[in-house]
Amino acid sequence: MSVLVFIENVQGKFKKSTFEVISFAAAIAQKQNLPLVALSIGNVSDDELAKAGKYGAGKVLKASGAQLDSMNVQPYATVIAQAAKAENAKIVVMSASFSGKGIAPRVAIKLDAGLADNVIDLPKMDGGFIVKKGAFSGKAFAFVDITSDVKVISMIPNSYKVVESAASPAISTFDAQLSPRDLVVTIKDVKRSTDKVSLPDAELVVSAGRGMKGPENWGMIEELANVLGAATACSKPVSDAGWRPHSEHVGQTGIAISPNLYIAIGISGAIQHLAGVSSSKVIVVVNKDPEAPFFKAADYGIVGDAFEVVPKLIEAAKAFKAGQN
């Protein structure tokens, strides 16, 4: 028996969220007294795989081949399910990334397993297997007992710490058998903005709302984000108005995020917006209206005009970053 963790790469590299999910799976494996097996799919160098070995896996498997070069949900789910069977995995863990959200339900069906998605904390494993997961679009949590023999869980990025260990596990090849049914989706084109921090797993997020008055004023928001190394986000009215792309919309009907620091500028804080950002560790609100509801949900508030406050924040962020180096 074992615990299997799927370690996702983006263009051959592992991100911090991958190390988080390995650390998370390692803590589960330790509690269950089971070995942890990490599975990488796609084109990843042995050097990069060795990095993934430092977070508690006893063994690293790599599945690769032309059909697995790009992330594609069906073949990836098949490989994970086959590896889980080969390793007799009782618990399969992955990140609740865009890819993981598509893959985990398929793996659960293939393994006849119970699934808990969007898990945000280590399961309680003293009698039962109770996970804490986001529910009602971030307005609440649900504690869910997974009672099936095999369990699949996906973990929200930024919800577990990275824990390094001394091990350097062996890397071995895993040969999966794909069927033609797995390969019917063709990826025609992939566009990634390499200079931008991706929103769901960003540690710092700078977000702005209608208080910015128009899309032409986003330069200062982007500059602040750049200096901090943060991702940019926006409120729903802003993406609805076409000022910013829908992919930046955080909130109940957009992306739910849980960064270490969320800076909201010119956003009043409607309940739907709060739902998507309430699991941020620290929230800063900048708004010229002292009655804005968002101040009630913030750790720090600055009552002031964004056009005066943001330039000050940019200067302060530059000085702060310079002080860190």
């Binding site: 339900p105 659960a108 969007n118 609440a140 007992d145 009672t147 990634r192 560790k281 800063v284």
Partner: protein, 244 residues
């Protein structure tokens, strides 16, 4: 083209979420229920795709209390509706009901919202697809169909991709896939007489069980920083919260 749209009946996005004192159950008293916003995008897309012919069936897993939401979907433009008469226990239960229905009534396309804003998350679309052994494009921002091939744009880590897939498939609708449709008077009138059939659920093993709910701990009161001292923000956060 025959399209199936899976719809969920969820608390209004402005609703405050409350639970019974033992935290075991959601308190629905005084809460308005709506068509899940992402499902509404999926439905709007289905109506657009069948403008030149075809049918849109909506399926909901719920008790009789969900019928106003189903009627709203019919008013937006669905041709007919099916309600599987059961409480939606978990994502697996819902997915099994939908997949069983699709096996008996074939569809060219199954559209869902990319997630539901209650407790069921985003597992249903991919589970339905796996049960039917067809593709699922979960984060579809656009969808076009030519013959029996669909072309979709999907959100991915740090960007987007263009995919092509054969029908039938499952697609999860994101913002941008279609404009929300507001039902007009004719739609509302005709919705009253469109067919809504009720079927009984199939048996599904239960693998997950909600033990209790909880709400986020409210933040301690906000610490105000004067606008002229905004420059001290990052030092204060580092000092007090140690997150940067």
């Amino acid at each position: 083209m025959k399209i199936l749209v899976c719809i969920a009946n969820v608390p209004d996005t402005t609703a405050k979420i409350n639970f019974t004192p033992d935290n075991k159950e959601f308190v629905s008293t005084g809460v308005t229920f709506i068509l899940n916003p992402y499902d509404e995008i999926a439905l709007s897309k289905a109506v657009d795709l069948t403008a030149g012919g075809g049918s849109v069936t909506v399926i909901n897993i719920g008790d009789a209390s969900t019928e106003p939401t189903i009627r709203k979907a019919l008013a937006i433009g669905a041709s007919d509706a099916v309600r599987v008469n059961a409480k939606p226990r978990d994502g697996y239960f819902v997915a099994k009901q939908i997949a069983e229905y699709v096996k008996k009534n074939s569809f060219d396309l199954i559209l869902c919202g990319r997630e539901s804003s209650d407790s069921n998350g985003s597992s249903v679309p991919a589970m339905v697809a796996e049960l039917l052994d067809i593709p699922c494009i979960l984060f579809a921002k656009s969808l076009s169909i030519e013959g029996t091939t669909a072309t979709l744009e999907q959100e991915i880590e740090g960007g987007k991709e263009i995919l092509s897939a054969p029908l039938p498939l499952v697609a999860g609708a994101s913002e941008g896939m279609a404009e929300w449709k507001i039902p007009n008077m004719r739609g509302i009138m005709s919705a009253r007489t469109k067919p809504l059939s009720v079927i009984e659920p199939v048996d599904v093993p239960q693998y997950t069980q909600v033990q209790s709910f909880d709400k986020p701990v409210p933040r301690s009161s906000v610490k105000l920083i004067a606008a002229e001292d905004a420059g001290k923000l990052f030092d204060i956060i580092r000092e007090e919260k140690k997150v940067i």
